[in-house]
């Protein structure tokens, strides 16, 4: 976030720091007014929030995700009965990454000229590595992302902390992997990253398996939205827009919430998703078959013009 001082021009800062001629009381009054202005601006900066577009989340978070804070996004825990070596984390990691990227897209709309630092191991193994084509389809310019590939998880998080200290970035994302299993180290990292984010005002997002959320601003559990059963396997008009079951299970100054949501690329907004809705879509007569095209044609703020049956 912009601090109060950086928002002011150098001329104003210089003028504030110089003693003015004339009555001492007036001078003091001006100084107090300037200080008050700075404090107000700084407070506004600290409390600026990123709306999630979903009323349930926004009200639970008091307006949205806070800047200058670290948010923990993880996939849901492996359910009871599943083997420990389940490939479920790998399978749904795309969904978790997609949710973080959608949030990033919203941040990058606010700061289109700032880079994003993504700290991750170089070879993500079975979880795969981020693809530029996929980023573009979320709406993110891949050139805006700078990757720090460090194989050691502790060093990877060190890069995350270093980046988070820096003002001038849109956001910083870190993949922590199995680091969260070492509880003492994890708690120390939580404290350090929280302090770093507050210093710079940059939003931080951590991405990985379920981890203790204490010390972070919010904790999210993301899983892909499982659509209702369908009689046909091959479906041509299926809505492949990303959709998730998002659960805000921890909010430091809020309350938990949960919702099924989907991402609309054209308007760069999260949209609520009804559980009962079958997402098999049929394009209306005379319109293009792609719901993205239809939604663009109807304006970004409107729902896509397709029939739900």
């Amino acid at each position: 976030m912009e601090s109060a001082i950086t928002q002011m021009s150098p001329h104003h800062i210089l003028q504030d720091s110089l003693p003015q001629e004339g009555d001492k009381t007036i001078y003091r009054k001006d100084r107090f007014a300037a200080l008050k202005h700075r404090i107000t601006a700084a407070e506004q900066g600290q409390t600026a929030r990123l709306s999630c577009d979903i009323p349930a989340f926004d009200s639970a978070l008091g307006g949205g995700l806070g800047f200058g804070r670290v948010h923990l996004v993880s996939h849901t825990a492996i359910p009871q009965g599943k083997p420990a070596d389940s490939l479920l984390p790998s399978m749904i990691n795309g969904a978790v990454s997609g949710f973080v990227l959608a949030l990033l897209r919203k941040v990058m709309m606010l700061y289109p000229d700032r880079p994003v630092i993504w700290c991750a191991p170089p070879h993500a193994g079975m979880t795969g590595s981020l693809s530029a084509e996929g980023l573009r389809q979320i709406g993110i310019n891949p050139a805006q992302l700078i990757f720090v590939h460090e194989s050691h998880p502790a060093r990877c998080m060190s890069a995350f902390e270093e980046a988070l200290q820096t003002d001038g970035l849109a956001a910083v994302v870190g993949e922590y992997g199995m680091l969260s299993r070492q509880s003492d180290l994890w708690q120390r990292w939580a404290r350090r990253t929280r302090r770093a984010a507050r210093m710079s005002g940059t939003i931080g997002m951590l991405l990985g398996p379920p981890a203790p959320v204490c010390g972070f601003e919010t904790g999210w559990h993301i899983s892909p939205y499982a659509a209702p059963l369908c009689t046909r396997t091959v479906v041509e008009n299926y809505d492949w827009r990303p959709s998730w079951q998002a659960s805000l299970h921890y909010a430091k100054s809020g309350r938990p919430a949960s919702a099924a949501i989907k991402w609309d690329w054209v308007s760069a907004r999260f949209l609520p998703l009804e559980r009962s809705v079958n997402r098999l879509v049929q394009p209306p007569v005379g319109q293009l078959s792609d719901p993205q095209i239809n939604s663009q044609a109807n304006g970004p703020s409107q729902q896509p013009a397709y029939t739900i049956r």
Binding site: L87, I92, S97, G128, S129, L130, G134, A143, D167, W263
Partner: protein, 542 residues
């Protein structure tokens, strides 16, 4: 070598041609390296020396050649030719985008090397060449002809094609080096004005370093050689041509002095500390680095200079030395930044039995006063500076190869559409305007996964018919039922690649499993062609 111009320029100049220049005359040596960019690229890529190479730049929506190698020139390629045409002229030629900044850096390095002959050395900003002002310095090496011989020999030994000339003016030296037939073995121009004008008169008008418009006018009017221009009245020339042309003409014969800008290398700023007792231990080394950097920063601030490269060096008690190097994208002298940049230096120092001496040195110095300082620094620039500084710190801390960005590639294959390149040597470390086009709504019809597996993982798939999408997949001993599938989307191999036989066409499917995970799988090999097919998992959708 020592080409006698008397044969060429006739009896009028024979008196002066071999004579030593008078003490008042300047001795400008111009070195022209016509194939430097192509030679540099050939060496960089490790290609055979006789590879035909063309370097192109994108202009007017076409890739046009800017430099060609000697072999390519013999094959009929020339600057200005479009790359598409050039490919038909010479099939075996290699084409590459021109890297002007790297060529300039190479020239600059050569210019610093040439400072052994004279302190006044510069680079030709309009082409690939150097100039040396040998006035008052050539006698130290046995005369200007000996200097020329030495430079040509040494550069030729290094594998460069060299053309050079010595003349009393820079314009004349440039013209002779670029357009004289005997320039490859060195040309020495006469001093006297009349002889010099005779010597230059046979050269084409392009040797006057004209603008394209002036050159076109001269050729249209039938003035093809410099001698034709000398014969014209000045008033007639001034009516048709620009003032720059007349200035170049005057500078050619030395009637008007031509200012030349030599390259200046600043002496590095350094701080040295000798230790009476051997210094060891992390705490002591950390304090040592902090003290050295503080002193260096103080020195730089007093000199009003900023530096781009820093070296922390040390000598152990056994006499062995080692160094650490740090690089900044934007030069600076701020102590806080230097401390962050060199934060891990103490951990990297292997003191063994202790250090006897340590030093820190700053290179790449420039004055503090920059354009931004004069015009004011806006908030956006200040933020960009901070982002650049962070990338430097990350590169110094984790290694320059660890900081990367995605660069687009021209390919249909999903795994070849992007490349991760390091930011260490990139001039523009962060460029949001890199050549990434956002997808059109039509392109959104074929969604792509956010995560790709590299290489794709083999899976087992069960399909009702050979060309149907699977109804069940098995990956690493786990099975999933396919709830929905869309496809196929066929992506074929690049037919123009030599090793295309190794890759087969792929039919991609987007599937959704019973747990909601969305996957991108493909079948390699086409059943309708009777090919043996295999299934692979390639990526995960958001």
């Amino acid at each position: 070598m020592d080409v006698s111009l008397h044969d060429r320029i006739g009896a009028s100049s024979s008196v002066d041609a071999g004579a030593k220049p008078a003490s008042t005359a300047r001795e400008i040596l111009c070195v022209f390296l016509p194939f430097l960019p192509t030679t540099r690229l050939i060496r960089q890529q490790g290609w055979p020396a006789d590879t035909p190479v063309g370097l192109y730049h994108h202009t007017q929506q076409t890739d046009r050649l800017l430099f060609v190698s000697q072999t390519a020139q013999r094959a009929g390629l020339y600057p200005g030719l479009s790359v598409a045409d050039a490919r038909t002229y010479c099939i075996s030629a290699q084409f590459h985008a021109v890297e002007l900044d790297k060529d300039r850096a190479c020239l600059l390095a050569l210019a610093y090397w040439c400072r052994r002959y004279t302190p006044l050395v510069g680079i030709d900003e309009t082409g690939c060449g150097l100039w040396l002002d040998l006035t008052g310095a050539s006698h130290l090496f046995g005369g200007y002809d000996a200097v020329q011989t030495d430079i040509i020999t040494k550069l030729s030994d290094a594998g460069l094609d060299v053309c050079s000339a010595i003349a009393p003016t820079y314009g004349a030296a440039w013209a002779l080096a670029h357009y004289h037939d005997a320039a490859s073995s060195g040309v020495i121009a006469p001093i006297r004005r009349a002889a010099l004008s005779d010597c230059l008169s046979l050269l084409p008008v392009a040797a006057l370093r004209l603008s394209a418009a002036d050159e076109a006018i001269l050729i249209q009017t039938g003035l093809r050689q410099i001698g034709d221009v000398f014969a014209m009245r000045r008033a007639a020339l001034s009516m048709r041509l620009t003032a720059d042309f007349l200035l170049q003409l005057d500078q050619l014969l030395g009637d008007v002095a031509e200012p030349l800008q030599p390259v200046i290398e600043r002496q590095p700023v350094y701080v040295v500390q000798h230790w009476v007792e051997p210094l060891a231990g992390l705490e002591g080394l950390t304090q040592m680095v902090a003290d050295l950097l503080a002193e260096l920063s103080d020195k730089l601030m007093k000199k009003e200079q900023v530096a781009r490269w820093f070296e922390i060096g040390w000598q152990r008690v056994d006499g062995s030395c080692a160094r650490l190097h740090y690089h900044l994208s934007r030069p600076s002298n701020e102590l806080a930044l230097l401390m962050r940049l060199c934060a891990d230096a103490a951990e990297k120092i292997d003191a063994e039995f202790g250090l006897s001496c340590s030093w820190v040195q700053a290179y790449g110095l420039t004055d503090t006063v920059s354009v931004t300082a004069l015009l004011g620094t806006d908030t956006q620039t200040a933020r960009a500076e901070k982002a650049d500084q962070l990338l430097d710190i990350l590169a110094a801390k984790f290694g320059p190869d660890k900081v990367q960005r995605l660069v687009p590639q021209d390919s249909w294959q999903a795994e070849q559409r992007e490349q991760r390149t390091t930011l260490a040597q990139a001039v523009d470390k962060y460029s949001p305007h890199l050549d990434w086009q956002m997808p059109s709504p039509a392109q959104m019809l074929a969604p792509r996964p956010v995560r790709l597996l590299d290489p794709p993982e083999p899976i087992q798939a069960m399909a009702l018919l050979p060309d149907n999408p699977p109804v069940m997949i098995r990956w690493r001993h786990h099975s999933w039922k396919v709830m929905r599938a869309t496809g196929p989307e066929r992506i074929g191999p690049s037919w123009w690649q030599i090793d295309r036989q190794k890759t087969r066409s792929r039919d991609y499917y987007r599937i959704e499993t019973n747990e909601g995970a969305r996957l991108w799988i493909y079948r390699e090999g086409l059943p309708e062609r009777g090919e043996e097919s295999a299934w692979y998992l390639h990526g995960f959708f958001a």
